[in-house]
C-alpha cells in the first residue's frame, strides 16, 4: 500500500484521511465479516470525485538538521494533483504535477519542466522520506496485493481494522507485506512496511486527527525509517477546503511552470 500512499503523499495525505469515508463500507455479502479488499475498494471509490485545496507544512527531520517547507496542494479526483512549494524562498516555485501515473516536476532555478523518468521513480521526493513512487502510484493497492483482515480492535474512538496486504509474485512492490490500521470512521491510523524477512522498515503514523471543513482529517502524519532513528518526514495539514471548483487548466504543464492562482 506504499503506493496507495500516493494516495499518500500529501495530496493524498489528505486523501488518506478520507479514505474510508463511506459508512458501512466493505460489508461482505456473506454477512458480518468485512472483506479487506472491499474496504479498500470502497475507500478508493469514495475518494474518486473529491476535490480539495490544502495548505501543508512538510518537515524533514534528520539527526543533524531539520527543514520545513510550506506547500500548497490541489487535488481533483484520485488522478489529478498539483503540489507547489511556497517557502523557504530557495525552493519556492518548484512543484510536482501528477496526472494518472505520469509525473512532472518543475525546478525554477533551471526553469524547466521535467517528466520524471522511471529511473528516478525510486528516488526521494523533494528530499523527504517519501519516494517519487510513493507519490505517483495511486490505485496499485487493489491490483497488486492480496488482502486479508488480520484483526479488529475496539478502541474508545471506534473499531480499528488491521488489514494485511501481501504483494503478488510479479507485483512491482519491494515490500514483503504491509499492515494498515484503519479506524471505523475511515481514518488511516498507521501503516507498517515490512521487508521480506518480516523486519519493520518504514512506518507511517497518524499523530493527530482533527475536524477540518466539517470532515475528519489526519492532520499530522509522520513517515519514519525504523532502521535510521531520528529520520522522519512529517506532513501537517494547516488548512483544507473540500469540494472546491478546480478547472482543467490547474493541472497543466504551463500552470506548473507559471502559477496563476
Amino acid at each position: 500500500m506504499g503506493s496507495r500512499f500516493l494516495a499518500g503523499a500529501f495530496v493524498c495525505l489528505v486523501c488518506c484521511s478520507l479514505w474510508l469515508a463511506t459508512p458501512g463500507f466493505g460489508e461482505d455479502q456473506r454477512g458480518g465479516e468485512p472483506d479487506a479488499r472491499a474496504i479498500l475498494q470502497a475507500a478508493i471509490d469514495h475518494w474518486r470525485g473529491t476535490s480539495s485545496y490544502a495548505e501543508v507544512t512538510m518537515i524533514i527531520h534528520r539527526p543533524e538538521w531539520e527543514r520545513r517547507m510550506a506547500m500548497r496542494a490541489w487535488t481533483r479526483g484520485e488522478d489529478h494533483s498539483l503540489v507547489r512549494v511556497m517557502a523557504p524562498p530557495r525552493d519556492g516555485g518548484s512543484g510536482t504535477l501528477l496526472i494518472d501515473k505520469d509525473m512532472w516536476s518543475f525546478a525554477p532555478n533551471i526553469n524547466r519542466v521535467v517528466k520524471v523518468p522511471s529511473s528516478m521513480m525510486a528516488q526521494s521526493w523533494m528530499g523527504s522520506d517519501f519516494s517519487n513512487q510513493d507519490i505517483a502510484r495511486a490505485d496499485d493497492i487493489l491490483d497488486h496485493y492480496e488482502h486479508r483482515l488480520l484483526q479488529t480492535e475496539t478502541t474508545e474512538n471506534g473499531l480499528v481494522y488491521y488489514i494485511e496486504a501481501i504483494p503478488h509474485e510479479m507485483a512491482p512492490v519491494v515490500w514483503g507485506r504491509q499492515v494498515v490500521q484503519v479506524r471505523e470512521d475511515h481514518l488511516v491510523l498507521q501503516e507498517d512496511y515490512y521487508d521480506q524477512d518480516d523486519r519493520l522498515v518504514k512506518r507511517l503514523v497518524t499523530h493527530d486527527i482533527a475536524t477540518m471543513d466539517d470532515r475528519a482529517v489526519a492532520r499530522v502524519q509522520r513517515m519514519s525509517k525504523l532502521e535510521e532513528p531520528g529520520e522522519w518526514t512529517e506532513v501537517r495539514i494547516d488548512a483544507i477546503d473540500f469540494g472546491v471548483e478546480l478547472e482543467d487548466r490547474v493541472f497543466t504543464l504551463s500552470n506548473l511552470r507559471n502559477p496563476r492562482q
Binding site: 501515473k101 505520469d102 517528466k115 523518468p117 522511471s118 529511473s119 521513480m121 525510486a122 528516488q123 504483494p167 503478488h168 509474485e169 510479479m170 507485483a171 512491482p172 512492490v173 519491494v174 515490500w175 514483503g176 512496511y193 521487508d195 521480506q196 522498515v201 532502521e227
Partner: protein, 415 residues
C-alpha cells in the same frame, strides 16, 4: 691450389669445415656467445607468448561480455541505446545464413533499468536473454555462485551479480522490482524473484548486468517480438570479416558491426600487439648484436695471418667473406635452435596457465583473468627467428667484409 680455386662443391665443403673449426677454436668465447643468443631468443619467444596470451585473454573475455564477434542493431541504437531503437528477432533468411555458415548467435533485449529492494535502488542494464544461447556465448551466465541461471525465455526469475545483491541488501529467493520504460515512454515495471547470483572478475560488472528471460522482458517492456541486439560468434575472433560482410549485405538497413569497431580500444590493442612484438624482438637483438659483432671482429682479428696465407694461396676474397658469414650463420642457427627449444620447454608445461591470483585485482582492472595462458603463434616464431638470422648476418657483414679486404702481403707480415 686447384682445390681452393675451384668454385665447385668441393670448395664449398671446405669453407663449411673451415668455418666450423674456426668457430670451435676458441670454444669458451663461442659458448658464451651461444648462451647469450640462447637466452636472448628464449626471452624473446617466451615474453611474446605471455604478452599474446594476456591480450588474447583480455579480448576473449571482452568478446564474451556481450560484445560477440559481430553485432546487429537498429541504425540509431549506438547513438541512443534505448528501448525505442529495437529490431525484429532474426528472420528466417538471416537464421538460414547463420546456420549454413556454422555461426552461433543469440538475440537479447538490452535496456537501462532501475532495480529496487526494500532499502536501495540502483541503475543497471537489464538483459532479456535466451538462456540456452546466452550460456554458450557469454561468460557471466556460466559463473553462477549461488542458485541457478535462467532456464527458459519464459523463466519468471531474475539473476543478478554478487555485488549488486550486497548493495541492495537482498539475496537469493527474495523479490526485487525492475523498472524501465516502454517505447511510449511509459513506466514498465515488474517484480522478480532472484533465482541465481553470478560473479564476475570485475565488481563493476556484477553491479551492471541483471538477467531475465527474453519473453518476460518483451512482455514487460511491451515490445512484442523485438530485441535490442543480435550477437553472432564465429570460430575465430581474428577472422570475422567474411561473415561480417555477408551479414551486412543481407541486412543493409541495419547497423552491422564487427567487434573491433564496437570496441575500438580492444581492436587497436590487438593491432598494437604486432608492433610491440616487433619492437621487442629488435630491442633484444640490439643487445645481442654488440656481443655478436665483438665476437666476430675478434675471430677475424685473431687470424689475420691465416687469412693472408689463404689469400696468398689463391682463395678469392668473396670466399673469405662467405666463410666468416657462414661462421655467423652457424653461431646464430645453433643459438636459435637452443633458444627455441628452451622456450618451447618452458611454454609447453605452462599450457594449463600460470596462476597470477596474487595480483589478480590489478589484472582484473585491465580486464584480464587471474590465470595467464601463454599463446605461441607460429607467425611470431617465424618472425623472431627470421629477424634474428637476417639482422645477425647483417651485423656479421662488417667483420666479414674487412677480412676479405686484407692485402695478403701485409696480412702475412703482421705480427
Amino acid at each position: 691450389m686447384e682445390l681452393l680455386r675451384s668454385t665447385g662443391q668441393y670448395s664449398r665443403r671446405i669453407l663449411v669445415t673451415l668455418a666450423w673449426r674456426y668457430l670451435w677454436r676458441n670454444y669458451r668465447r663461442t659458448i658464451i656467445m651461444l648462451l647469450a643468443i640462447t637466452i636472448g631468443v628464449w626471452a624473446m619467444i617466451f615474453m611474446i607468448a605471455l604478452l599474446r596470451g594476456m591480450v588474447d585473454d583480455m579480448v576473449q573475455s571482452s568478446l564474451e561480455s556481450f560484445l560477440g564477434h559481430v553485432q546487429i542493431h537498429h541504425p540509431s541504437y549506438r547513438d541512443d541505446p534505448s528501448i525505442v531503437n529495437h529490431l525484429p528477432t532474426p528472420g528466417s533468411e538471416l537464421r538460414e545464413y547463420l546456420d549454413r555458415a556454422g555461426l552461433d548467435w543469440t538475440a537479447r533485449l538490452r535496456v537501462p533499468a532501475v532495480v529496487s529492494s526494500e532499502r536501495e535502488s540502483l541503475g543497471v542494464t537489464l538483459m532479456g536473454v535466451k538462456p540456452d544461447r546466452e550460456v554458450r556465448l557469454s561468460k557471466l551466465p556460466r559463473q553462477i555462485s549461488n542458485g541457478r541461471f535462467l532456464e527458459s525465455p519464459d523463466d519468471p526469475g531474475i539473476v543478478i551479480g554478487e555485488k549488486l545483491a550486497r548493495r541492495l541488501e537482498t539475496g537469493l529467493g527474495k523479490r526485487i522490482v525492475v523498472m524501465s520504460q516502454d517505447p511510449d515512454n511509459d513506466i514498465a515495471d515488474r517484480g522478480f524473484r532472484i533465482v541465481g547470483i553470478y560473479f564476475a572478475e570485475l565488481p563493476a560488472m556484477e553491479e551492471q548486468f541483471v538477467f531475465v528471460g527474453l519473453n518476460v522482458a518483451q512482455q514487460m517492456l511491451r515490445v512484442g517480438e523485438s530485441v535490442s541486439e543480435i550477437e553472432v560468434q564465429g570460430p575465430d575472433f581474428r577472422e570475422v570479416d567474411w561473415f561480417y560482410q555477408a551479414i551486412a549485405r543481407l541486412k543493409p538497413d541495419l547497423d552491422v558491426s564487427p567487434w573491433y569497431e564496437r570496441d575500438t580500444y580492444l581492436g587497436t590493442m590487438l593491432r598494437l600487439m604486432d608492433g610491440v612484438v616487433l619492437v621487442w624482438i629488435i630491442v633484444i637483438f640490439l643487445a645481442l648484436s654488440f656481443g655478436l659483432v665483438n665476437t666476430l671482429v675478434m675471430a677475424v682479428f685473431e687470424r689475420v695471418r691465416e687469412i693472408g696465407l689463404i689469400l696468398a694461396l689463391g682463395m678469392r676474397p668473396s670466399a673469405i667473406m662467405g666463410q666468416v658469414l657462414l661462421e655467423t650463420l652457424m653461431l646464430l642457427a645453433l643459438g636459435l635452435a637452443l633458444g627455441n627449444a628452451l622456450a618451447l620447454a618452458t611454454i609447453i608445461p605452462l599450457a594449463d596457465g600460470i596462476d597470477l591470483s596474487v595480483v589478480s585485482e590489478g589484472l582484473a582492472m585491465m580486464g584480464a583473468g587471474s590465470t595467464l595462458y601463454p599463446a605461441l603463434y607460429w607467425q611470431d616464431l617465424l618472425l623472431s627467428n627470421g629477424l634474428v638470422i637476417a639482422l645477425g648476418l647483417l651485423a656479421g657483414l662488417a667483420p666479414a667484409h674487412r677480412a676479405s679486404r686484407y692485402n695478403p702481403v701485409e696480412a702475412l707480415t703482421k705480427t
